[in-house]
Amino acid sequence: MAEKTNTDAGAKRFAFPRWANYFLPLAVLAVLGGALYAPTFVYFGFSPKTTWANYAPQQPVPYSHALHAGQLGIDCRYCHSTVEKAAYAAIPPTQTCMNCHTNIKYESPKLAVVRASYQTGEPVKWKKIHALADYAYFNHSAHVNKGVGCYSCHGRIDQMEVVQQVKPLSMGWCLECHRNPELNLRPLDKITVMDWKSDDQQKQGLELKKQYGIRDVAYMTSCYTCHR
């Protein structure tokens, strides 16, 4: 059988030195501290401030969704064109802005950054607002093709001068809907309509769930549905 390679068999027995006795009061303090720490951690750790709900950073361009999506009524997909095809709802290239702004408000000082980007080829660096943890894989196309509207996660974007995160985007919040998708389903032609409301969401939602072939709760809450 195995040879013993460990040679510490003959080492002296270890005895705690006298000063180790002072650890007893320290241990008591540590336990008390722990008892205080746990609720503090939960209170702050799970507060909306930590999950960054209402996060609304200053963007490099004072772009107003309230004006474009709200007043002018431009469809979300005009700019976020990949939302039905890909995981990301792409932020539009500068070109998309200039499609209109070569003719409209070309001189506006608010557009200086966009014009500069168009001329130099240097992209505009937008601040990311809706950020999930890197181990969560969200797919826009899987949601908007199955009747989850923009509003459900992003709120009334059409009323926001500055975009802010309105939902916590926490796992618990994702699961609420993955367990009961019928509460957030709408007809496919109403995906981008911000103020759509069903007469009977529960009933219509269940019908739509069947029509869209949405999987059962077990599948929808499997870990690999979102994590890889």
Partner: protein, 1056 residues
Amino acid sequence: MPSMNDTKNETKRGYWRSLDELAQSSRVAELVDQEFPGYDPEHMVGTSRRDFVKFAGAGLALAGLATVGGCRRWPEEEIVPFTSAPSETIPGRALSYATVYELGGVGHGLLATAYDGRPTKVEGNPNHPFAVTVAGKIGSATQFAQATVLDMYDPDRSRVIINRTTAKPEAGTWAEFVEVASEKLAKAAAPVILSEAMSGPTVAALKKELLAAYPKLEWVEYEPISHDAQTEAGKLLTGAAVREIYDLSVADVVVLLDADLFSAANPGHVRYQADWAARRKVEGKEAVERGISRVYMAESTYSVTGSNADERLPIKPSRVDAIARGIAVGVGVSGVSAPDGLSAMEKAFVENAVADLKKAGKNAVVAAGSHLNPATVAVAMAINAALGASSGGAVKVVALPDGARPSHSAAIVKLAEQLNAGSVDVLLIVGGNPAFDAPVDVKFEEAIKKVGFSAHLSLYDNETSVACKWHVNRAHYLESWTDARALDGTVSIGQPIILPLFDGKSPAEFLAAMAGDKLAKVTGEALVRQANGLGDDKAWRKVLHDGVIPGTAYAAATVKVGGEIPQPAPMGTTAFELRFLPDSKMYDGRFANNGWLNELPDAMTKIVWDNALLLSKKDSETLGVTTGSVVKVTVGTGLAALIQDVAVYVMPGQPNGSAAVALGYGRRVSGKLGVGQGFPTYNLRGSTGWHVVGADIRSIGESYQIVTTQEHHLIDWSAKMAISQRIGDKGVTGKIARETTFVDFKADEHSANKKSHGKMSLQLFDPPNTFNTPHAWGMAIDMNACTGCMACVTACQAENNIPVVGKSEAYNHRIMQWIRIDRYFKHDPVNDADVQMPDTIHMPMLCLHCENAPCEQVCPVAATVHDTEGLNTMIYNRCIGTRYCSNNCPYKVRRFNYLDYQSKDPRGGKWPWLDLPDTQQMASVDKIKQMVFNPQVSVRMRGVMEKCTYCVQRIKAKTIPARNHKEEVLADGTVKWGNVVDGDIITACQQVCPTQALVFGDLNDAESQVSKLRRSPRSYDVLEELNTRPRSKHMAKVRNPVAGAVAEAKAPTAHG
């Protein structure tokens, strides 16, 4: 029933992994007893365990403060869109482009996958004739080609042009270099361009142009791993350079004379393995009626190909010629005389091969290794011609256009003479690394230094660059326009996937600049288009899409037989014959700084991070050495003797008297990983004795730590006793790795499983859930197709962001690869005590996704649970690192991140506890290395368990778009949504498997390929008695020895 201590009974054990295990040395006993051998925590970490606990406590307290004070979760991120998006680009969606990678003058057709313009994965091009495995759908690539993507993001890659003419090396500019070099070239009396082998039409055109522009220019081509023997043999037989290409898909009999066709270094690697597997299929009545092919191998080491042969003869390299001539005489080749002195074993081998070859006629292949004497290779060619195989049979012969070229070894010797004589005044070296890999006796490094003006175009600032006056950083092939010819001459275009990261130049751009002003401003794209005559835009785009230009294969040629084939010069009588092998990971040394390849276990030895001298068991005993002993190898005598110390690896199946050693290690100038790794065996390779040389080997009484993965995951003695009882002798099918012979299989298709079915007497748990909605994912792993080539391991590493751990961590059994190829040997202890004739079985092992998974039952935090489709999911963000799951896994397929292996400093830097985990991890991974990550897979951090996921990201990448697609809207308004079909989802390992030994699919679909394979009578569950109900089933191997049933083939002499 033997007692637990009855180790004598163990000699009867069928399978073993290393000779140490077979002999039950104390070293192995130690491995079994210790979970992490050699692991000394006090020594390994800078702080003691006690200190660590103190610091950890402090760290937690600080992290707590940060949480309360900062109220932050992640750092601010930016979204940077295009200013004007190119068509087809969708952020975060992968795009694949056809391209080509050239290794040793042969192009490998590839598909490179890029995310947002960032290549992350390289696979075979299904349109390329030498990469396709499933027509139009799947292409395979060697581990070399796959790992090149890591080279591309190597932080140690050369980033600037270096001028060494000044007192201190300084950075130069491209314009500066072109000006200086052109001037020197114009005035040169005897300029030379030394180039690595490049087959593409672009370089050929530029070569022509340069030779016209500078009439005094000489063009020399050199490759350290050369396949010139065949070219020379062609010249010997027919007076023209030819190349034989084998079609193993029609070959009934394959006789290999030391020809390692399945080696990754063989340019036909993918094609040969795919074709071999196609001719070994036993599915269906027709296939069984037709029978499977039989492979003979006479070889001087134990190669991957040899391990898959049905009849294997271990011989010294010098005996191969005799075997070749024996077979030639047997099949009636004229101009060859019968060899004398064939031993009984050799005679039996020759007689069997001759009988089978005669029967097979046109459908036979005889291949000789490219390290052999051209005369021997000519004999093999003559046999093919005599059988009619090379005229419309299983052997295709093509004429090579560069036939006039002297052989690589002759060329480099002549050039060195010229350099030493001072007759060369300008030397431009395009690629390669001759200062490292030229024959050691010509002292090429010193010779370069004697030249007035020398420049080296290279990916790395290496040995040759340092010896040259200038170094020009080369563009990686994924950054440049290239072209290359496949084995049969078919041209492929290589397109850049990304702009040069460090502004490097491709060989074509470099040569064009040297050719003069008129081309200096021409782009690589224009050069390639022009050389290939693809002016038409439509044709150009089609070629770029397909990756190949049809109709560009070399012209067919014929081999004439008739004249006398000369005898090769006899080997001197030395104790050993030393054979040089291309390394299965380093090739010729160019991949020295590539972590994926360094850590890829060799297919046969399972060595990582090193090379070693392979000796037979008997020879090692005679020398008094064992695995890990350092020996002094001496080639030649007196002052000219070449001497190098090398560590020994005792290799089962290695012929007595034959020593083999891989080239490519022991780099002197390379990146962080490459320098000093392994043994510089080029020091033994002189200009005579280029492939095989007589050598003297002596023990010097020192030892060296070789790390192999073959003894990882050993289980304890009591369990092993149980295994030994269940497996039995060589020739009897085992329980874990099952096999049968074709004769037995024909008689009873259940022969592999008949006696092996496990018995499950106790059912501990309720029958598990069915896990089949909406799909039931599963896999079939065919050991009859697996050759053990290791391509899947690199594929998995690239696809799943698997870290490299380094040699010392590998020693601690912490290697992270999710898939491993278990290689078991099996031999007859009575008649083959020297272990010359072991049988080998290669068994891919990865997470089998057990329905009744033992790992799930012990996880305290439910971090590993089943999803509804049968995937055993591993949730990193939930894992707290107890490692219970790994303990309870009977297949040992789980891997734990002991350290932050992806970071620059896996031990976490000086004050790791001051950073929050997220920022710490992001900052600690090299910015350039980050670019190789697959964005669809989480990068795991310290303290997390991981394992095979069945490539869940690939499943989602197909199922989500399929479900989004409205296939049909019925009259009543109901929608029929799309769904994936069989073959849509291909895991990374299946994708690159040349033989499609791994097949993934939906078990709900009874007609899917995987369902059909799993219904095969060869199919079985590994360790079925544990009732784990694996979703991956293995399939038994079918051997085809002459003796029919393996059970009869006991002694080596009994083969006749």
